[in-house]
Every structure is written in C-alpha cells, then in structure tokens.
Point group: D2
Chain length 365, copies 4
C-alpha cells in the first residue's frame, strides 16, 4: 500500500504531496503509521537551504510519534520492552553513528561522528519513508524505537518534540545544581524545555527571556519563576533585573536557546563570575558577534560550553521524567496548531513567523 | 634601617628610587631581604596605567624570593615547615581573601573575592614595603610564605615567577589528560610554563606558537614537542600544521597565553570538536574579537574556560614539581637579564620590547 | 544578666541546669536569645562519651535558632544582609577552620581541617555560652550567622536542623542527576533531608528504607516515591523491590544515612553497576562490616564516596531552597516534641529510644 | 591450511595442541599470523575454572600481536589507518558490545554490557581461532584492529599486554593530577603499568608495594620513585613509610592492583583524608575483607572507585604514549620467558608461581 508524504523537493520551492511505494521490511525493521510529526525551526532552515549536504528531495520531520503497523524480527524496543503492532512509539531521530571512528571510540562523543544520519534531514525521499511528514515511517534496522510510557500520549511527546531532549541536554551540559539561578535565553521549544528541566533540577530561580507573551506564559507554566519580555525591555533593563534577583552577581547558569548572536553578548553580561554558559541555540550559522574575552571569559573565570545535538539517553531520560511529571510539565500546551500533509507549507510559514510555538503535522487529520 | 625601593610614582612617569622607613613588625609578620623580584607583563601594564584602582605610588614586584631577616611570633611557613632567619623563601602574592563573602563561602571561588589584595599591585608605597622591587619586603601577618624546597635556589623560582603558577593553573583548568595534544598560544612566561606542565601531565604532543625564536627554543627545552614561529607563518599555515599532527581533527586542548584577541579567533580554529579551550592570557583588556558561536562553540561542542589568577595550591604544587624535576624544567633559563633598582625603568622597557623573556630586579646587584 | 543552660557535666551523668555569667562582647561578636536548639543523635553519642576529645562539662546544642539581643561592631550577616537586634537568625555550627593548613589551602577541603571547632561539641561550658541548650548563645567573632529568610520561621529551620544540610551535602556529594533512581537508607533527620533534596534534584524515583512507619510517612511527605519499612521486610525483600522498580539493575544512587554497618552491605546489593554510593551516616564508629570488593566495587565499577560533615554553602543553599519550597518541604513536621532546659535529659532519652524523630530544646517554654 | 593451537579443554586438565581448520573469511574479517600472545593471571584463573560461563574447550590468549595474513573487504584499521597483509597489528580483545542495552545507551558504560565478548575467554575453540595461543587468529568483523605505531615492535606491545591498558584505565579512573602522591599496591603487569602511567601523569611521588624484588626493579625502571618489598615489611612499616613521605597525611591516590582482600584494608590506611582509592585488581572473587566505614570512608571523606575492565580508548591512548615514550616505558623488559605452544602448560605454572612477571606464547618459536 503506498503512503502519502509531504516532500520538500528543493530549497524555497513549494512542498508537494507525493505517493511513495511501501517498503519491503528488512530484518530488524519496523513500519509505523504516523500519528504526529513536529515542524521545528530546523525544517524552516531546511526549506531555505541553510544546511549543507541535504539530499533533496526529502521528507522532513525528524521527531514523530507513530503506531506500530508491522515489524520484521523485532519484538523489543530499544530498551528491551516488548513491542508489537498497535503500540504507540517514538524513535530517536539520530541513527547510525558508526561506533568505529575516533569520535565514537576514543573521544566517546558520538554527537560528532561523521557517519551520523538523521531522519527527516539526511535521507532523500528516494531512499524511502525516512521522515515524519508522511502517513507511514520506515524504521531501518537499528533505529532506536521507544514505547511511549504511560500515562503519556502522542500529544505530550510531540508537544515536547526535539526541543524536549535538546533542552534536557542543555541542562545536563550545564550541570544545573540545587539552588542555582538559571537564565534561559529564548522561549521556543528548546528554551521552554531547558526552563522546565532547570526547574526540575532544583534551581532556586529560573528566568526566561523571550517573546511573545504567550510563550512566556508557557514558560511559567513549565516552571520558570520569572520571565522577561524581549520586546518591552532593553538589554540594560534585563541585566538590571537579573542582577537584582542575584544580589548583584548575575546568574550561576545561562542557557542560550535564542539562535541569535546578540543573545551571546547579552548572555555574558547576565552571567556571574565563575558561572556556566551553555550555547545550545546556535545550531545553524546565524552570524557572528564581537566579544571581549578579558571581560567575558578570562576575568569572569567563566565556563562556556557548546551543546551539539543530543544523545539517546537525553530522549530516554526526558521521556521518563515527562511520564512522571505529566501534570507539572504540560508540554502538550506548546502545540499551537495541527496541519494535514497538504498544509505542510502553511505550517512552515506559521513557525517561521512565530505564529505558533510548535506546529504539528498530523497526516491523518 | 631604611630600605631603598624602586617606586612607580604615577603612570608613565620615570621610576624613582626612594628610601623607605623600616617597618615595626606586627605579631605574625616577617621581614625579608630581597634576593630577586620579577618584572612581569603586568608591571608594564601598571606603568601604562592600564589597571584600575591602583594606589600610586607603588612598589612593583609581586613575585619575589628573599631571605628571612627577622620574624615576629612566626616559626613555621604556610605549610608548617620550620622557619627561621636565613631561610630562603618565596610567598604567595595574593593576600587577604576574606573567607566571608559569597565567592569565598558559597561559590568556593576565592579568586573572585572582592577583598583580594596583591603585593606589588594593590598596596601603596605609603603603606610600607609591600612590593618586591625593594631591598626589603614586609610580609604582613597571614601572607603565605613558603620555604624554597631543595634543591631549588632563587634563580629556579624567580625564573618561573608568576608565570610558573599561572601556567600551572591553566593546565589544571584544562584538565590535560594522558595522551592529549595541547596547543599553547604564546611563549612568554605563562605560555612556557603551560607547555612545561602540559608535557609533565602526559600530553602526547605539546605545540607552542609564539615568537621570537629564542623563546621557542626555551619551549622545547621545557617539553614542547613542536613549536611554530609566529612571524614566519600565517594562521592558515599553523592550522594546517596542527591538523596535520592530529589526523585532521585539531588539538584536544588549546591554552591561550598570548594576550591578543586575534589569538582567540585562531585558537578556535585549532581546537578539535569537543575540545577544551582555556583563556588564560587576557588578564587585561586587550580588545575584542568577532566569533561565530555556531562554528566555534555550538557545533564544535567546545568547552571554553577562563582562568582568572591563581590560588595558593597552584604555587605550592608547581614548586614541589619544580623541586622534583629541576633538570627537566630549566625555568632559570628564562631569565634574560638582572637589573639593580636604579635600572628598573630599563627592565620595564626591555620586557615591553620583548628584548628579554624574563627580567629580574636584583636589589643587591 | 546570667543565663540558664542545660549542662552535660560528664558522660552518662544527669544533665544539670547551671546559671552562667553573661559574656562581655568582643568586637565582631553577637549575643542571641535562644528560640530553639535541636537534640540530635550526636548529642546522644556525646552523653555516652562516644566522641573523643570533648571538653566536658559542655553545653550541647550545635544547631539553633535565636533572636539577636546585642551586637558588637556587627551589622551584617555572613552574606552581607543587614543585621540588627530583634532579627531571627541561625548560624553555622562549624567555626574557625584555619585557612592555613594543607587541607584548607592545598586540598581545599576544610571539612578535614584539624582546627575545626563546633558549637555544642568542642567548647567547654567554662569557655562561655557556646552551645544552644541555653537561654542565650554567644557568637564569637567570625561565626557565620545567617538571617532566616522569609517566609521561614524558627520551626521550619530547627525542624530541618543539622540533618537539613547534612542531607543536602550527601545529595550534592552523590551528584544526583535528572532521572536518577535514589535509595536512601535511614529515615532519621539526615535520611529525610537526603530524600527531600534528591527529589528536588529531579530524581525519577526516591526510595526510603527505614522505621518506624511515622518516619516513612514524613519521607513521603518530603518527596519519597516509595518507602520500605525495615521491621517488616528482609534485605532480600528490599533488594527484590528495588530491582523491580529499576528493571533489574538496582539504584543509580544509594545514600547511607542509617549509621549501621549492616546497611553498608545491603547498600552495595541495592546499587546498580556503575552506581554511586554515598556513606553519610557513619559519623561515629558503629563497627565494621565484611565486604567482597570484587562483587561490591570492582566488578560493579562502583563509586563509593564518604561525606564528612558539611561546609557553609550546604547550610546556605539548603536554607534558600527551604524558603522557596516551604510547602513542599515541611521539615517542621519532623519535630516530635519540645522540652524546657530542665527536661533536656528526657529529650535525650526520647531521641535515643526513637520516640520522636526530632526533639527540640526551647529554653523559654 | 590448518592452524595449531594450545587448547584448554577443561579446568585443571592438561593443555592440548590441536590442529584446527582454517576459517573462511566473512566480509569485514581478517586472519592474523600470531607473533606473540600473553599469558596473564586471568589465564591461570581460567585454568582453575574460577570464571563462570566459560565455554571450554577454549583457546586462551586475549591480548596478542600478529601479522596480517589475509583480509576480506578490510583496508583500514579501527582508527582509519590503511591496513594490508604484512602489517604488524594488535587488536582490542573485547568485542561486540551491543550498542543497544541500557548500559551502552543510557549509562554510556559499555564495560558492563551483558553482550560483551572477549577473545580467549568467552569463545569456544569450536567457534574458531578466537584466542591468541594459536598459530593464527581469526578477527571477526567488527573486532577493533590497530596497526602498531612505529617505533614499537611486537615485544613492546606484548610486554605491556592487557596490563598496559588496565593500568592506564586505573590511572584515568583515579584522575591522577599533577603533584599527587600515588601508591600502587601490586607489582604485576597491572600494577607496573599503573605506576608507569601515574608517573607519566605528573605525580610527584609514585610508590609501589609488591614482590619479588625483580618486579620492584621493573617498577622503578618504569617510573616509581619508591618501592616497598612486601616480604620484608609489615603493613605497619609500610604505613609509616607512606606517612613519612606525605608529611603524615597519606597518599592522594591509592591504586589496588594486588588481587588480595587484605590489600584493601591496608589501602585505606595508606590513603589521606579526601583521597581517591581505585580498586582495579579484584577482577575475580578473591574473598572478603572487614572494613570500618566510619574510619575508612565516612570520616576520611574518601572516594573509592571500582575499575571494571577497559574500553578501547584505553588501549589506543596507552599505545600512542608507548610509541612516544618507548625509552621511558620499557615494558618489553617485563617479559620473562617465551614458550612454544607445546609448553603453554609450563607457561601457566610459571606465571602462577610468580617465576616470571610476564610469560609470552610465541607459536613460531
């Protein structure tokens, strides 16, 4: 049975709905019926052609939730839970690190493995149903599939999306400790998740800087103690506010999830001496910024840490905590709108124009 | 008996030799006869008035070696070794952290204590013999004095000078591990020391970038495996060289000890993905640099760490290792020239013009 | 005006109420009117003479809350907040680390400083009002006094007592991470606090093993997800339970707060391979235990960490979080009974016989 | 062409030399001609049947050096170096971690992966040439083969053997820092390697405790500063000696490589407060020991760390450093004797009776 999919045929060209042949299942593979797939900022970058080496035409959609339709010699999920047709699952979009290169073997840093493949980004539509904006998704042998733990449903998980575990990774990278004051720059999916997990880590104060107001309300619902609206404040105002709640010192931790070079200059101003600054929002080239390393880093005795991508355990732990704290972490509320495949182009535009925090492709809707 | 001292009366004015009254010893204090005191890059900055809050007139000279002349209710050094007149000692120039502020008590980061006082920098000549360019030095109660362990003599210690433990601190901050490739940017006293201690930490390769040639020879004598002469190579050449010896990846650790903003831009180019970059050479404001945080930090999953000043244990451990590895760590060879008090102005100029790697004031010479 | 104090004149002799002379305030000192002082397990050990070097007669009571009666040249608390007569305060019972020994200076580990003095333990009643079981407490110059932050009152703080920050220290030492499963052995004040702060750190599951039932109810009120009653289960049962909730692996972190050698043998059984085991409850010699280091440590690739005492920042951060999470952390409920000075002996007995979780001396009651 | 191999047919039965069929090479596999294979303490344990789940008959020999005879679709080693028949190689004996279990994926701790397979231990002779005491070794697809870097030859590498990277792993686990005093308990291959790498890490003092005298001489040749002969000293003497060279404090780091429970009790006595104790020598069950956790761990604020097995990067980094420091690290001198296949039984006995530090099977000799 063929599957319909929204295909990005080339940068800045209108998305098309294609009918694609159903795959033959290799041993170790699964076929999912897509329930929901997220539209993330990366998809906007993909549409503008800002990532290199993308094999257009592609089926976008890296984080998705689906129901198992068929399996071939697979009866366990990535962690050994029994798995059968009908189960609601998600999967780790990063596939096929090589376990053989210097980064995998010596540095133990698979997020820089050159063989890394990502669903919805590094596969061509010609290679098969390897993206989530499709009625069905083919999970190649070795893709890490995870049964969604109760009481979570598809909306909880896709509401978090890839931001859920990217934010988790940023908080883990920062090593947020009990009693810390944490500033999060940005209130998109990554920033909201970082705020939520910083709060869950026992931070004394979590401060989110972002826009628009609706996102800041989400931030507070997810655990932020204070939010500062970008449009209505200057960097000077925001610095005054952060110093005010930290007895003049600045934040113990700042997490950049803004994707804006000016945010980095501001972030250093908000950081206390000896603080930790995680750069998590610069996953594409958004330009440069001028920094005085005497003031920002050396004299401040600062720790600045890039967080590139994620690893499987970020997804796994974030999901487990989401299952435990479903009420306290209402990520499902981030979803702003649901789109059928035919309206994938509208979804991209709404995300780019910040009309919705999180757009979701629901192929069956 | 009065003591003669070289006094920096005000920025950019000729140094003067003053005769200063001998102090009355408070309980817990010592009086030293100065054997040697270093002329460091900071002294050049002091002369140009580049540090704020300096109470001119001052007696420069923060790291010194002296012989104990007199003690008052003191018979042990900072670590409990017996101490008596005639002993050869050095002392930790950073005095009087408060043990009471948020940085001392909560962050456990005394290098950012606002009460920190430094010999030769934050005391006025009117306060007494509190700098090393003087025939005698008064060690106030609580100054951490350390007997120089055998087989070291004054030249070994002053040859290392404050660079000895600043370089040690940079290597400790980097957490250099067995088998690392380490690039050190800068071949002044801090860079040379960083190269020496990186080598001593079991780095597989230590590469020093600097000038002039004589300093690179010192670098190799102290343990560098490779040195790259700044004047005869472009950043592109140097990057090619570092990639060449790291199978195309870049260095595990880069230590900036250059005091030059362009070095920072270059440093990111030399760092491997997932590497550690310590900024140790920007202890004064030498200007800004433009950085692309996508390439340099986020995508690279980099760790960037400022190292501000030192703590006592850096001095202590560096000295112990110097005593063990006197032959392998010929820091005494860094000393380029010795000056009597009357020629302190010449010493400053020779350091500024890079005529000598390390100049030493020897009041009795 | 003299002050009445409950004095432990010698081990295993009846406590006496003495009238002691009011002190003359040295510069930098304060006098408090005691509101409440805790009776902790250490006081029971003191009464039995189990600690060495105690200068009987002593006024017990190391953690206390008081109201400032009088100050001498002090107008700020340890963190710089304004301080005046009438303010409600607590203070850090560990006083006078030397800042000069190898442990203070080189290892940066003041909890092993040989000069450490502790209120209520290492001072004689002849030295003054240096323990909390007294109408008034004399805070010597340098004692770290902290204003109790709103909305906390005396009961919140003394309910936590020294267990509050000892438990905090154990959780910090364990480095509890988001999503961890944490087993706490013991449901006394330290165990309850460890459970509370492990939960606050974002642990996925906190399991408390202890007795009696009333303490386990407190544990759940403070954040434990599961509790196992010692009296009604065997070590085999408890291991089965822990394996059951960890998919057969064991806990990521185990914190020993039981003060019982058999607990250590059991703890290793409950720990997963690669897990972290903090030994925090063996602060007196309670005997030995037989361990197979192949199974328990080497093959398990375990991390075993002793936590000795606390540092000031543990108190400070624990108090700040208590102020933020007053509702979520109802430590005041731990208080089982309040005793006037005359009944201090009864308080000791009730603690020893586990009749109350926390007994409090309230000199004015 | 068949290959002769020394086969351990069952525990405590005489080894036999079998002729085994040459394998057909699967894609991704290699065939080596064995140059040398080590006889390690584990082989003695295997012969006594002390490890569970061993599929006798087996071909022992986990660490080996060979020359590439034949390859099938392989032209690179594990790190991407070109590889061809005739090259001298070693390989990582631990094969086939699953990359799929909780330990591989979530804990990132592949040394506890239940799927781990080890050459010479977990494969039956019926499965093929999967051990080193054989004329030829079959490297299954995925086995990590490494070209021996110049100027090393087979004797350098096999002299280090598996102890080379086990000792490296222990030093890495200890996090030995510049200036540390390190005690190594045991002077077998693991202890000698730990001493060598501790010295290479910039320890100020490395002290080896072991026997017989010949091994202590090797220890000093490899970098130990001091050695204490087990037979001629009591635990009390050794403690006195260690306290004497550490100003009464004990060692910063102790590494257990003795495989003896009493060594653990002694190790705690030799460790300073706040020190780090790595248990690396208890890789089989050698019995239990009684420990007082108040004195040994809690009051001492100790860190006790098990090191189970190794990871590939330990082998890789140890080899690179061995190549750099061939002169300083004369591991080849550890080899005591070489045995042809027919004398494998003698080799086992000589190792068990400590007649040689390292025995080597040389099938062609």
């Amino acid at each position: 049975m063929p599957a319909r999919a929204a295909v990005m045929v080339a940068p800045e060209q209108g998305l098309q709905v294609w009918e694609l042949r159903a795959p033959d299942l290799e041993p170790g593979s699964l076929l999912l019926e897509t329930v929901a797939s997220e539209v993330c900022g990366t998809d906007v970058h993909l549409w503008h052609g800002r990532l290199s080496g993308v094999p257009y035409p592609i089926i976008p959609g890296h984080v998705s939730v689906g129901r198992v339709l068929e399996t071939r010699s697979v009866d366990r999920d990535a962690l050994g839970q029994s798995l059968a047709p009908g189960d609601l699952v998600t999967f780790y979009d990063v596939h096929e690190v090589c376990h053989r290169c210097w980064f995998c073997l010596v540095a133990r840093q698979p997020n820089r493995c050159p063989q890394r493949k990502v669903y919805g980004i590094t596969y061509s539509a010609k290679d098969g149903l390897l993206g989530g904006w499709s009625e069905r998704i083919y999970l190649k042998p070795g893709v890490k599939v995870v049964k969604i733990p109760p009481p979570l449903d598809a909306e909880d998980v896709i509401g978090g999306g890839c931001g859920l575990f990217t934010g988790f990774a940023a908080v883990e990278r920062a090593g947020v400790r009990l009693g810390d004051t944490v500033v999060v720059q940005g209130a998109g999916p990554v920033g909201l998740s970082a705020a939520a997990f910083a709060s869950l880590s026992g931070a004394e104060k979590v401060i989110v800087i972002g826009a628009p107001q609706a996102r800041l309300e989400l931030a507070r619902a997810l655990g932020a103690d204070l939010s500062l609206l970008l449009d209505e404040s200057s960097p000077r105002d925001r610095k005054a506010e952060v110093l005010d709640v930290t007895e003049g010192r600045g934040a113990d931790v700042v997490i950049e999830a803004a994707g804006n070079p000016e945010a980095v200059a501001e972030g250093f101003e908000l950081l206390r001496d000896g603080g930790i600054y995680v750069i998590a929002g610069h996953y594409t080239d958004v330009g440069s910024v001028t920094v005085n390393f005497h003031h920002a880093v050396n004299r401040k005795h600062a720790d600045v840490r890039g967080q590139w991508g994620t690893e499987f355990h970020h997804l796994y732990k974030a999901l487990r905590l989401l299952a435990k704290y479903k009420e306290r972490l209402p990520f499902r509320r981030i979803i702003g709108a649901r789109y059928p495949l035919e309206r994938a182009q509208d979804a991209l535009q709404d995300v780019e124009r910040l009309r919705v925090t999180k757009a979701v492709i629901a192929p069956r809707s």
